[in-house]
Subunit: 206 residues, 2 copies
Amino acid sequence: MIEKNGVVLVLSGPSGAGKSSLINKISDDIGDFYFSISTTTREMRDGEEEGVHYHFVSKEEFAKDIEDDHFLEHAIVHGNYYGTSLKPVKKALSEGKLVIFDIDVQGNTAVNNRLGDITTSVFITPPSLSELKKRLVNRSTDSEEVIDRRIKMAKREIQRITEYDYIVVNNDLDLAADVLRQIAITARLKIPHDVINDFVQKWEDI
Amino acid sequence: MIEKNGVVLVLSGPSGAGKSSLINKISDDIGDFYFSISTTTREMRDGEEEGVHYHFVSKEEFAKDIEDDHFLEHAIVHGNYYGTSLKPVKKALSEGKLVIFDIDVQGNTAVNNRLGDITTSVFITPPSLSELKKRLVNRSTDSEEVIDRRIKMAKREIQRITEYDYIVVNNDLDLAADVLRQIAITARLKIPHDVINDFVQKWEDI
């Protein structure tokens, strides 16, 4: 029963909610984890690394993995495939790791459809839309057009916030990290349904 | 957002799983809680106390509360009503308490139908059926007939174990208490959907 099994933590929330800062804050306290990264068929750019920025694969491999139902989601952008493959996720789960997804609301639905029994989902939100705008403007990484797009997406996504197990309002980074740490540690206690079913089988046999 | 709001912890599992011992172990560490007790119309017996063993009410009050949809479940036994009323539960929730239910699998479904957004459910099980039998025989409180009934019910209930958020195998009491403590503390982080909806409303207005 107390076998080594991985679990999933989904983090959603607008760009500017502070997801990356929060993960950095708690990363030493949550045990061995694998941060899910996207798979793509586009060429590797200067400074990019396989397994860090993306998993880089050929179009043939990507197409075969779609057929084999390994993708949670995928899309074609400028002729290249991008997607979230479950292949590295399943490997990490078999190693008992906490798999962290930074994924949108649709992605959360997809993860829950596939791995719901071991998934804990968290929506991280800034305290208000005006605060989100301020953060996006202040970090000066995005054009006005990109900021507008992010704001529109945030407004759409927050409408589905009740689909999540937990909401973390990131007003104070330390407080929000305390809450997320607690949730991530407890996420470890989920047991896959197939392991439970094995247990029940043995439970009755004895 | 960080308003005072209560949450619910459902504990299910066979008699003999160690639920009471576990609650005693963690009761100092989980903050202010209310342990849900049944409401009945039967006469109070010697040594019983209102609000400790049962909430004792008149048949009229019980009948009215059924009509007003206050009962999660109720039954008539030997002409007396017994049931789980949400009236004291709602009071405890409004005081920000953790409400603990020791309730069966049907009860868990009923709680989730009514309070699912703030409910965390845990099935506590002995490591095996033979261990359960041993514990029930050793505590010498039940007749052979009662033990047989409890065993049959345990076999039925464990078939629905995957309906729970967490499973705790109570093999070692201290280890099981550590797990349950962690779950109970994290249960506090659930936010009622109406509070979230208010937050979203304000979030967009600013």
